[in-house]
């Protein structure tokens, strides 16, 4: 079974600065997808960024980018120019290429300091 680990329960960043959230995962599969979801206090999970394992190029969405290291099974999220609205729980998630279920990590609570 796949597992997802997020070793940073809490992180904080100064507004306008850059922060990196860590994620590692364990799988024996070669094809899969990785995601970062944001969960604000409203509880709704919002997709931040997605990475296909077969793609070597790291995904980027505006201020959000990932560092995907397939051999190391590492998938970190970098948030540049942090904004107050970025404060939330961030979950790393794994989905098998042929499967349906998402496996989530325990989350990292990000605080943004003005």
């Amino acid at each position: 079974a796949q597992t997802v680990t997020q070793s940073q329960p809490e992180m904080s960043v100064q507004e306008a600065e850059t922060v990196t959230l860590s994620c590692t995962y364990d799988t024996s599969e070669s094809d899969y997808y990785l995601f970062w979801y944001k969960q604000p206090p409203s509880r709704q999970m919002i997709l931040v960024i997605r990475q296909e394992a077969y793609k070597q190029q790291n995904a980027t969405e505006n201020r959000f980018s990932v560092n995907f290291q397939k051999a190391a099974k590492s998938f970190s999220l970098k948030i540049s120019d942090s904004q107050l609205g970025d404060a939330a729980m961030y979950f790393c998630a794994y989905r098998s290429y042929y499967g349906q279920n998402f496996v989530f990590g325990p989350g990292t609570r990000l605080s943004v300091l003005p």
Binding site: Y37, R43, R50, Q100, N101, F104
Partner: protein, 113 residues
Amino acid sequence: GAGVSQSPRYKVAKRGQDVALRCDPISGHVSLFWYQQALGQGPEFLTYFQNEAQLDKSGLPSDRFFAERPEGSVSTLKIQRTQQEDSAVYLCASSSTGNTEAFFGQGTRLTVV
């Protein structure tokens, strides 16, 4: 609809009471998931539907939990004889065929007292 809708947003149940949680997925989405999220933790998989077929219910914690999606759209998660450990946020998500991402609702916070 524009997004995944869940109701109620909050539910307080007395221990031993039965509850029903509703999920209205995005129109046309084939796949529907239920997750349980305990306080301060990540979502844990409960069950998965493809249209009306429940293809995976391996995450349901006990036979007190039951989910259905009779017409392949709206789904209901039922919990019988609720216990305190059932207190959690229950998240519903849906996705379309070939779509790798899932869209989540705002969840139902269940508190069993």
